[in-house]
């Protein structure tokens, strides 16, 4: 939020792309950019740690280690040398979800470079979400789509893994293919959902709904107040007493 609130706070030096700025110590890297005078266009999306627009790499003087974070989620630290990597070119396989199978062949066909993975673990070390990227890549190479999907689920697709991969692989796109394969072909489909879709299409609720649409506000309020509420702690098998509108 606007910067007045933090004015009186302690200032710390940071180096944005090598240039020194003094910023309040409680700011996230993203807000520090703004405090320093940048108007962000790239590198800023949700501001809440989920869109992956703000991948950032930084380093401290005297340290060999490259650190990573999401700019919107990482609080500044004194003397960090940082830059954002808001865009990195990536490969994107093209596939028709209806025509593929959840197998290693599918993964390799869409992303042949998958097999170049050296299992060097650089990707895992560069993940700001603490995802075991190398492990999901290993699962991908074994054709274990379920494991690939499960391990990569929290991926925000910021691209830092891809930026640093010595084998030039685009891990996060392989991961989303894996998750989609899992969601469509491996996870059991919801029968109750299919049944409901059929019921709706057959017009089962048509009359009751049209009835509601013609009901006046007072009567609607009455129906609303009388709704039977499923108890919060009820288990899956709970059913309401009144079944006339099911």
């Amino acid at each position: 939020m606007p910067t007045e609130e933090v004015k009186k706070e302690e200032l710390v030096p940071i180096f944005i792309m090598g240039k020194r700025y003094e910023v309040p110590s409680s700011l996230t890297i993203q807000k520090a950019f703004e405090y320093a005078g940048y108007q962000l266009i790239r590198g800023c999306g949700c501001r809440g740690g989920i869109c992956g627009a703000c991948g950032t790499v930084y380093r401290f003087p005297g340290s060999y280690k490259i650190e990573v974070g999401l700019a919107c989620q990482t609080v500044v630290q004194p003397n960090m040398y940082l830059t954002q990597i808001p865009f990195f070119p990536a490969t994107k396989g093209v596939y028709d979800m209806e025509k593929i199978k959840p197998t290693i062949e599918t993964l390799v066909k869409a992303y042949p470079e998958l097999l170049r993975c050296l299992q060097c673990n650089t990707c895992t070390k560069s993940c700001p979400m603490d995802i075991e990227v190398m492990d999901y890549m290993a699962a991908a190479m074994r054709g274990d789509v379920a494991r690939l999907a499960e391990l990569s689920f929290d991926c925000v697709m910021c691209g830092l893994c891809t930026a640093r991969c010595p084998a030039e692989i685009c891990q996060y796109n392989i991961a989303i293919l894996g998750r989609r394969l899992y969601g469509k072909y491996i996870a059991p489909q919801a029968d109750h959902l299919a049944a409901m879709v059929k019921a709706v299409e057959k017009g089962k609720y048509e009359q009751m709904l049209r009835g509601l649409m013609d009901t006046d506000e007072e009567a609607l309020k009455d129906l609303y107040n009388k709704r039977e509420i499923e108890p919060e702690q009820a288990d899956e098998d709970w059913t309401p007493k009144d079944k006339t509108h099911l």
Binding site: M1, P2, T3, S26, E34, Y35, A36, G37, Q39, L40, I41, R42, G45, C46, G48, G49, I50, C51, A53, Q73, V75, V94, D96, M97, F153, V156, I176, R179, R180, L181, Y182, G183, K184, P188, Q189, A190, H192, L193, A195, M196, V197, V200, E201, Y205, M208, L209, L212, M213, E217, L220, K221, Y224, E230, E232, Q233, A234, E236, D237, H245, L246
Partner: protein, 557 residues
Amino acid sequence: MPYTRELKELIKKVEATRSARIEKKRRGEEFHLLSLKEREERLKKYHPDFKEGSRKEIRVGPSKGYAISPEIVDLLEAKSRVNPDFIDLNKVTYETDVLILGGGGAGTAAALTAQENGAKVLIATKLRHGDANTMMAEGGIQAATKGTKDSPYYHYLDVLGGGHFKNPPELVYTLVTEAPKVVAWLENLGCMFTKSPEGRLMTLHGGGTCRKRMHCAADITGAEIMRTLRDEARNRAEHIKVLEFSPAVELILNEHGHCAGAVLYNLETEEYSVVKAKAVVLATGGSGRLHMQGFMTTNHYGATGDGLILGYRAGVKLCFLHAVQYHPTGAVFPEQAEGLLITEKVRGAGANVLNIEGEQFVNEREPRDIESSCFIRECTEIGKGIPTPAGKVGIWLDSPMIEILMGEGAVKREFPGKFILFKRFGIDISKEPMLVYPTLHYQNGGLEYNSRCETSVPGFFAAGEVSGGVHGENRLMGNSLLDVTVFGRIAGVSASLYAKEKAKDGKLNLDHVRRYHRELEEAGIITDRVAPMLLPDYSNPNVREHQLTAHYLGTIR
């Protein structure tokens, strides 16, 4: 920042009442729900919408006299970013069948169905494809999918009750009957919904629901939907082109009065360009970044209400915009997480909300506007809020209860995103409660449209948060992801049909902008404000003072 010593002391009061509250939960005893009459009283007295100065009448345009947030009125009573006389509409940079403005959930869903209907599609969006409120939705998506206890009938009633019975019936009908179909559509696209080993979709309660019908993908439902839709759009890149960092700044009409394109602004090269299209879908989302009444917001960076301005200038009326949605549970501690949404699912999973004494004061499943009003009441009139070190106040959200009710590890399993985030700040939310306060969350109203997503301007369609009606005066959780997928899909179909069958080629013009400018002048509104805003202004005023040669147009340099 971990909790301070003072706050840790206060947490002891929460712990002191916890086991009794757990017992109550287990027995199914709930804090009483307010009656409709009590609800109304709370709203009128404590909801920010009813505060003095929270509404102002619009002085021009099709909804002249309608009173809404002054922040939006100021943008409506502003000039175009472009002088219509400076733009050569004969120089068309892109031509397409269907132009979609906004690459969020609604826009991307529309792109997919339009393409399936044979249309050539162009999506123009402000930031990256998918940088959108859709990406941020956590809690879930509503749909009646369990026929043994639920049906569209109950869903319909819930939507209406949430919306204060003002919602146009036809829109609600469409929403609730399409709901199971879009969940099936998403499942078929490969969305990883949370399911039992047998494939039964997990469903939870949300505020104002009478049946558990909130489906989720862990605590990142919106991201899962958004990234799946985006991946699918990218698979069809041959027919669905995407222009990023290219927000629309004006709609273009043609000599027949049909919508026939838009003027785009390249945020990087600062060029304006003309897109000619046979039909246009507006899906630019909400407006939290206007910070109504100075509230913090959960919304993404680009949520500046642009679509409202574009549509309004072209002649589309506004509705339900007088009601702004505040989400009851935005983080107020630590400072770095301020405004960040704590999903309603946390309450759905069993966490109580508590005052400084560790006492319950409201049922945790009231509709959002009521819940927020009760929080504000507790913190103001009753004076039992919890003060934060930054001088704000909050309410406890007792997340450790979930751990006790659902078993050890439940918080981390059900809310991995939030768990990690708070962990980084030194707070373990499976052991310590969270501090929350209402935060600006959702634009309940917007441009008027019908169940085919048509607006009053031929060839111009609206879908998603930018539109108003389906949620009446207050949206229930989980009905917005539903709204954007249901109406996004419909908009795509309607627009592609229109492009095929009804679109009439004609000379492009921006006469509506000229007329609007004239109307502003006639109303005595002399201003240098420009709209749409495009990006919020978070630049540092001290720095600005030294930008001696910089020129700002609105918020943008």
